[in-house]
């Protein structure tokens, strides 16, 4: 049988070759090869993407995780009432607090019988800016004056780097400079052994505020996390209702004519406008014309609302469109008004898509720096607001702005903090996306 068929083929050379399922002809082979190649390209693309991702995550973690550790000076410190009064009478009060602490610290170290040569200047070089922390503590807790208090105060940025291994003896040439001299390394080693200097988890980095350029140890991202959070509240409260209302009207109620087409085109265009343009707009309209305060999360939120609106409108319209018309027809058929059909039936079914779009829009807004530059939120802003509502109008920074700021400072410890800030920003973004995924899973309906 098989032979006969083969013979038949051979006997008719002019006829088209019959294909066999077992033996692939040249054309099929080519097509299969093309498919295999395409798959390989896809795998290469994904592998390359994954490699970049791994590289990025590795760079962020290896550079940023040290920011969560900090070298501190541990000491049970007692301040007398006279010392407190003396410090409060000075012009630069924090300098007096520092001097008093340095003197006390030197005495304790000598009491421990540590055989090392040092003077007040040496100790001051090893300490961070401790005066401000001490003053703030005693002003808040005046009843602790005269009693021993266990302090953990930040050490100098070079001590911090030395303990983390990014700064060593090779980095100080000759006599050293006013920030560090070679003999300081030995003293740090000795003090670490004696338990005066230690590495601890840096809570201040998470809860603190920005610090001056000479106080790398004191800088924290807390205030700008709050700033970003307040802006996101403004964006959510404004962009979600406006965006959803606009898209429901455009999608369900608006007549289809040239005017609504024109609006539609413009919304799409608006989504592509560079964010810095919204920043200039915010400066001109909200600050200069409407007289709103500079550097305020309220203005930042308004600017980011403008930026986020098109994203929300486009995604909301898409999810409204994806609700099958049969739902509307059924609602209208049983006597619901158009508005009841939309709000009772269409909108709940479109909600997962709307929420996803909103959260993606918010995540995009969270990472935006350019518009904030123009409304004064990029800079040295080192304070927590007095109250929750006051936080909207008082000056505050935002996470990306704070990271940008730290990255441009001369002390390397700030660069480390910038990477650490990126970790916190990413945690924020990932948790927002996680919420989006959960909401979608929870409410999603398949047709």
């Amino acid at each position: 049988m098989t032979d006969a068929a083969t013979d038949g083929l051979a006997a008719a050379p002019g006829k088209k070759k019959r294909s066999s399922l077992l033996e692939l002809d040249a054309r099929t082979k080519r097509r299969n090869a093309a498919e295999a190649r395409f798959k390989a390209y896809g795998i290469i693309a994904i592998t390359a993407g994954l490699c970049f991702l791994v590289g990025l995550v590795w760079a962020i973690l290896s550079n940023g995780l040290p920011a969560f550790q900090q070298a501190v000076v541990k000491l049970d410190y007692t301040m007398t009432q006279e010392q407190f009064d003396e410090a409060e009478a000075a012009v630069l009060k924090t300098a007096v607090y520092t001097d008093q602490f340095v003197a006390y610290f030197s005495d304790r170290v000598r009491e421990q019988g540590i055989e090392a040569e040092f003077d007040a200047d040496t100790i001051e070089r090893l300490l961070g800016k401790v005066g401000g922390t001490i003053r703030a503590f005693y002003r808040e807790n005046p009843d602790h004056i005269g009693q021993p208090v266990a302090f953990e105060l930040s050490a100098a940025s070079r001590v911090d780097r030395y303990l983390k291994g990014t700064f060593d003896r090779g980095d100080v040439s000759g006599e050293g400079n006013r920030f560090f001299v070679p003999s300081d390394f030995d003293l740090v080693d000795t003090l670490q052994e004696a338990g005066f200097i230690a590495q601890v988890f840096n809570w201040n980095f998470i809860t603190g505020v920005d610090s001056g350029v000479d106080n790398a140890g004191g800088a924290g991202i807390g205030a700008s996390v709050l700033g970003s959070f307040l802006m996101m509240i403004v964006v959510l409260l404004l962009a979600l209702p406006i965006g959803v209302a606009a898209s429901i009207y455009l999608e369900e109620f608006a007549p289809k004519n040239w005017f609504t087409d024109f609006i539609e085109v413009n919304i799409s265009n608006l989504a592509a406008v560079p964010s810095i343009v919204f920043g200039i707009l915010g400066l001109a309209v909200f600050i200069q014309f409407a007289g709103m305060p500079q550097s305020a999360p309220l203005v930042g939120g308004l600017v980011l609302t403008l930026m986020t609106l098109p994203t929300i409108i486009i995604s909301t319209r898409a999810s409204l469109k994806s609700v099958p018309p049969s739902i509307r027809d059924a609602a209208l058929g049983v006597g619901a008004s158009k508005m009841q059909a939309v709000f009772h039936h269409v909108l709940p079914l479109a909600a997962p898509g709307i929420l996803t779009g909103t959260i993606i829009g918010l995540a995009q807004a969270l990472g935006e720096t350019a518009p904030l530059l123009l409304i004064g939120m990029v800079g040295f802003i080192a304070r927590y607001p007095d109250s929750f509502l006051g936080g909207f109008e008082g000056p505050n920074s935002a996470m990306p702005a704070q990271i940008y700021n730290w990255a441009s400072r001369s002390d390397v410890v700030f660069t480390e903090k910038a990477w650490g800030g990126i970790i916190i920003l990413l945690i924020f973004l990932v948790s927002m996306n996680l919420i989006a995924i959960l909401l979608r899973r929870r409410f999603e309906r398949r047709w």
């Binding site: 000075a90 012009v91 630069l92 009060k93 924090t94 300098a95 800016k129 005066g131 401000g132 003053r135 703030a136 700064f167 980095d171 100080v172 040439s173 400079n177 006013r178 920030f179 505020v209 920005d210 610090s211 001056g212 350029v213 000479d214 106080n215 403004v234 409260l237 404004l238 979600l240 209702p241 600050i287 200069q288 409407a290 007289g291 709103m292 305060p293 500079q294 550097s295 305020a296 309220l298 709000f343 530059l373 004064g376 990029v378 800079g379 040295f380 802003i381 080192a382 304070r383 509502l389 909207f392 109008e393 008082g394 000056p395 990255a407 441009s408 400072r409 001369s410 002390d411 390397v412």
Partner: protein, 343 residues
Amino acid sequence: MSFVKLSASALAITAVSAGSALARDNVQVAGSSTVLPYASIVAEAFGENFDFPTPVVESGGSSAGLARFCEGVGENTIDIANASRAIRPGEVEECAANGVTDIIEVRFGYDGIVFASQIDGPAFTAFEPADIFNALAPTVLVDGELVDNPYTMWSDFNPELPEAEILAFIPGTKHGTREVFEEQVVAAGCEATGAFEAMMASGMSEDDAEDACLAVRTDGRSVDIDGDYTETLARIDANPNGIGVFGLAFYENNTDKLKVATMSGVAPNTETIASGEYPVSRPLFFYIKGAHLDVIPGLKEYAEFFVSDAIAGPDGPLSNYGLVSDPELGSTQAMVAAEETMQ
């Protein structure tokens, strides 16, 4: 319908908080990115030592800061502009046109400008202004003739300099540092090499010759850096032959990555800059809006605190960070106390 109610009340809350947003209690500062580090130190210390809130300091460049300063008077304008150069007459006029008339000019110290290269790079250890001019000018004097800059190596015009490709990262034109760089290095080099005289002799007017002196070559050997010193540092890191312009404080914080060159045989440090031996330094200023002094709480205290001996003096935290203290700080303090405005 609770969704609609919720969004309506949200709008109402926002509107109310916007309405009450008219009493600013913090000092608002903007301007030079060179002054920003110093200002941030002062602002932090001010917040720690006084009961006023910590001032807000933005950067963006001297010109941008002064432009915002001159926008007008009112709580939504800044109180202080930081500048790494003196205010220009044109800017004073602009200010006056917008009602900003009582301006207090405060010079609080000096900043040295240093030339530094990668620590492992060629040995750029000694420069004269003439070297910088020969390396960076579009036209230079060769054998008494003005020609398009033919040099590609530093050793081409000065055998004492290393045999390395010319590549310099200089501050962009929006920086106050650029002006100092031009006036104190490039212009000086132009005169020192005789190019200025040759230009005058070739029939240029004095103004044109001065402008021609300040031009830099555009063939890629001179790169304008519009960002800050960290960007210059990154470029130097990537280019072993690169020479960069930095502030003294920035260099001192990065001595493990940079090596500094002497200028006219003088090494830059706070002593040589204060004495004027090191030729390239510039005064740093901030400008106070007189009309805001009685309105913004803490403004005068901030200004007085900034120029006090404890802060801007030779032993203060600013000097410790790299500021060269002004020998005439005493008269500045008196001027701020008396609120003396510019004439």
